[in-house]
Symmetry: C2
Amino acid sequence: MGTAAENSVLDAAKRCCERWGMAKVTIDDIAAAAGVSRATLYRLFPGGKDVLFDALRVRDTEEFLTRLSAHVADADGFEDLLVRCVVQATLELRADDHLALMLSSEPGETANELTVAGLPRIIRIASVFLVPLVEQHLPRREAASVVELLARLVISYFLAPSDQVDFGDPASASQFIRTFVVPAFQPSFRS
Amino acid sequence: MGTAAENSVLDAAKRCCERWGMAKVTIDDIAAAAGVSRATLYRLFPGGKDVLFDALRVRDTEEFLTRLSAHVADADGFEDLLVRCVVQATLELRADDHLALMLSSEPGETANELTVAGLPRIIRIASVFLVPLVEQHLPRREAASVVELLARLVISYFLAPSDQVDFGDPASASQFIRTFVVPAFQPSFRS
DNA sequence: GACAGTGAGACAGAAAGAGTCTTACTGTCT
DNA sequence: AGACAGTAAGACTCTTTCTGTCTCACTGTC
């Protein structure tokens, strides 16, 4: 529970993301939507990304799972959904965002505190199998309507380290990064 | 009826606008969504704005009226809808776009061929009187969800000068502005 | 083989965004 | 009344993105 102004900003950010998608939202959009000035927004949050980070976080695992299953029902299948989610999230998020998300499971947390075992399997699976897929089909950006969902899903997974998915136990965080994440950002992948 | 590539681009542009809103769509978005290169896109259309112009045009008056009435059912009322439309469209469109629309009722048409009498009344009134208003109150961008609708409606009005909608005959342009437009820019409306 | 059409992407200039800072306004406390 | 904190507006600089043009390599057709 933050202040009224904080909640106003976070709500506005959420609305903006729903309307335009995370990648298209600007600070000015959020500030205008919240009815606050940019100065106020920067007083409440360190930077623009922090606003989105907080706004899109799914703190309630229950809510997250509910939302997930709702979308699974719509999709052709679960695996298909996973593919689409991670493809889009990977294409939408920039490298530094990705790493930031990788390296912190909570906003204030440092990379050292990361426990790889806490990372949900979906990310690992997706990272491993999606890179070649994307390289092959390279649709860059799809016109899909799941773009926003993806980013939320990925973030949700990262921020719900306590959910019961077994990650399979890669040896260490750095190995995980080297194995799955770094390749995803090779030139050929990014096209 | 254009070529297959043209239609592909126009469809893609339409989808992009639906997803992100007209103001957020880029040439690269459209090209990627259409599966064509930027070079091809620029060979088919003089510029990015022309793509949107063609994509968002409502050629079929019947379709336009159907869409309009659908939105009227959602809105608080018809007048409210009009106000929101013009407010938002004015905020979204930049001045030169506005003028471009003012000066051509068909893509290839020159300004000289324009017959002012053919322009639907609401647009003419709104365009003339809204610009100074916006400049004064300058709320920049609003958080409304009708952004996309607006642009389409405005363009639709321009391109369907023969449609039968009766605007209730305000006594004069200034009265229309005072009655419907000015209140829209009061602080209470904006939050 | 000429050739038109295409995708990829380099490039420069233009536009928009991020983050900081200054100014002025408003309400509260003393 | 005066100090003071919080805020809106927007100027400003620096960075990023977008636009539109161009070149180059590839592909299929005549």
